[in-house]
Amino acid sequence: MRASRFTSIDLALLAVAGVISGVIFTAAWTIYNVSEVLAGPVGARIISYGLWFMGAPLAASLLKKPLSAFLGEFLGALVETLIAPAGGITNVIYGFAQGLASELGYLTFRYRRWDIISGALAGALAGLPAVGLDAQLFGVVGTPLEMSLWVIAACVSGAIYGAVVSAAALSLRK
């Protein structure tokens, strides 16, 4: 396991991940609302949910340190709350839960893999708390089959966007 102490450069990179994620999270609201009308609940989750899970794989791929996934997602949610309060402070609650779930993705590999696969897994795992919190807050509770489809759609979307953002971060010229 690599040293978990964050240097000033790590903290600055975390800020970069936070602000980029915050901007993407804010844009995701419009994408979600439009796609829900055009593609229904499952389509909307596939198209847009992964955008809200990108903070964790982005930060983790840049920093490659334990807790970076959690902090990236949480910071992105905090920035989203402070720049455009579409979801209010619940964004922070979502960010906290999704960040913890994504962190599990990297923990699964004992913090040894920071590639596209671990990024996709981190993105996919964030789908579980997102659907759970949707059920609690927005009353989005369907039949067991519907719920399973939503979880799968959120996880697939998370995996796709997680892989994309990890690939982008890993191909940086450093």
């Binding site: 450069i9 602000v19 980029i20 609302n33 402070i89 982008a168």
Partner: protein
């Protein structure tokens, strides 16, 4: 005399009010806290956040709540029938609950944002709630980067247009082609920003002592507690 309050108390207030939205699940229990926070929040938030954005938020939320009610809760007595769409009592109740939750969550957040400066809020989170100073630095640095990244993004969009590509993100592939140059520029900036912060003694910086609780804090926290009591017992 002006009642003094910590900026972090308003953060706790917004968090507490948002948690209430998770717990309360009927129109009766949500109506009073939602109206109070909605009216106060939109009045104070409109000073700092563009009114067009607030109007767009309201429209998007109403649309989302309507679609949500129609998809998931369209049961019970028939209220109105428009061509092939029949709206039932369950959909209307769900729409009302979601709209009230929106007012409670967004209203309390706008109230916080309207009354505090983001920089003061970050400082207060570090000083009064003991948020780790590294995290506080990251949040503060993110806000410093925000205008720079907005400028980078608009330049990338211009470059894409000149090359005949769309400036709007339509697929994960498009997203990657926008993300990559932004990350490349930001990475370089963050490395030198981090070195600069280290050289200026970020690690040696001491966090000032907690600000004592003022009358304003007591009023804010009492208002939050009162809303919880009213909501839970109604």
């Amino acid at each position: 005399m002006r009642a003094r309050y910590r900026e972090s108390t308003l953060f706790l207030y917004a968090l507490g009010a948002s948690l209430l939205a998770f717990v309360a699940n009927s129109v009766k229990s949500l109506i009073l806290p939602s109206l109070i926070n909605g009216i106060l929040g939109f009045a104070s938030g409109s000073k700092k956040i563009p009114q067009k954005l607030l109007a767009a938020l309201l429209v998007l939320n109403a649309w989302g709540a309507f679609i949500n009610g129609l998809y998931f809760h369209n049961v019970g007595d028939e209220i109105v029938s428009i061509q092939a769409v029949t709206i039932r009592s369950g959909a209307v109740e769900s729409f009302l609950i979601l709209t009230l939750r929106f007012f409670l969550i967004v209203g309390s957040t706008l109230l916080m944002l309207g009354l505090v400066n983001v920089r003061d809020l970050i400082r207060s989170l570090e000083r009064d709630l003991r948020v780790p100073s590294g995290i506080a630095f990251s949040i503060a640095y993110a806000f410093r980067l925000f205008p720079l990244l907005s400028k980078d993004l608009s330049e990338i969009r211009i470059a894409r247009k000149e090359r005949g590509f769309t400036s709007v993100v339509l697929s994960p592939k498009h997203l990657r082609s926008i993300l990559l140059p932004m990350l490349n520029i930001s990475y370089e900036r963050a490395v030198w920003g981090g070195i600069s912060a280290e050289l200026r003694g970020l690690r040696l910086r001491k966090v000032s002592g907690r600000k004592p609780l003022g009358l304003g804090d007591v009023i804010i926290l009492s208002a939050l507690a009162l809303q919880w009591v009213i909501s839970l017992y109604s």
